[in-house]
Point group: C2
Chain length 142, copies 2
DNA sequence: TAGTAGATTATATTTATTCTAAACTGTTGA
DNA sequence: TCAACAGTTTAGAATAAATATAATCTACTA
């Protein structure tokens, strides 16, 4: 299993023991062709579908938090009651489709440099993220 | 009470009955010199401090939602477990101080126009908001 | 001023997330 | 090789924000 080995390495290098559960979660998150956005509930479903082993909910939460701390996942702020996570950890922005409750990546290059002409004394900016909320365009019917 | 009258008007014009509770909540939200950000828990505290009448938690939630629907409040997306609300309903951006868990307004004029060179077919942009996360700057000691 | 739609309230419920503490397992070094 | 142990998993309990319920109350109007 080439993938497993790769994840075992990744986990070991991160100081995380490569357990069955964590390797399974790595496969669910990082085997995908493309990066994607997910909630914990959705991730649990993905794991169940690819299931040969069972992973408890607490472990899913623990692992997602551990991976965030290591920089393998990002949390996306949305005005929802549940957290959204992103396997794309590069600096980028989002459309949020309010009707379908779906996040769409906007590549950094697709947004002109954001220049904030204001500073807070003693503080520095750690990240700058844009969320553009989108809805159906019904004007374009004519 | 000039303020009360003003809020009674505002509520009536919005099709909301001007109840004692709603007027009280208007006073808590809109008497302030400056706009501000709050959580439900904080709003409940503000009301309690200015208290002459009691307002139940359910009514606070109901009223905040009603005011949002009318455009008197905005919800601010943060990766927190509770919703933040804003009495500043103009288009603006935010610093989020991750250490103090505090939002700071950035006036629209303090951010250069945000140009997104990408569209989603059949969708239009409803809003574009920037969140800049800030942390203590310890490099600047020298 | 009575009737009614709308509003408030205490309380129960829902649901995402975190905590607990017992059982289990990957790692290490003797 | 394997015992020991720190790290991990787990079921289930706890927490807390938010919403639902349904009985009571009240602002409005005719
Ligand atoms: Mn979290
Ligand atoms: Mn809400
Ligand atoms: Zn993304
Ligand atoms: Zn604001």
């Amino acid at each position: 299993m080439a993938y497993s080995d790769q994840y075992i390495d990744k986990l070991r290098k991160s100081g995380l023991r490569p357990t069955k559960q964590r390797i399974k979660i790595c496969e669910a998150l990082f085997n995908a062709e493309k990066t994607f956005h997910f909630t914990i509930k959705e991730l649990v479903k993905i794991i169940e579908n690819q299931a040969n082993i069972k992973v408890s909910l607490a472990t899913v939460y623990n692992t997602v938090h551990a991976f965030m701390k290591k920089g393998y996942l990002k949390e996306i702020p949305l005005n929802a009651s549940q957290s959204y996570y992103d396997t794309n950890v590069t600096h980028h922005h989002h459309f949020f489709d309010e009707e379908e409750n779906k996040l769409i990546d906007i590549h950094q290059d697709d947004v002109d440099e954001i220049n904030i002409k204001r500073t807070i004394p003693g503080k520095k900016i750690r990240s700058v993220e844009v969320i553009a909320k989108i809805v159906s365009d019904n004007q374009s019917q004519k």
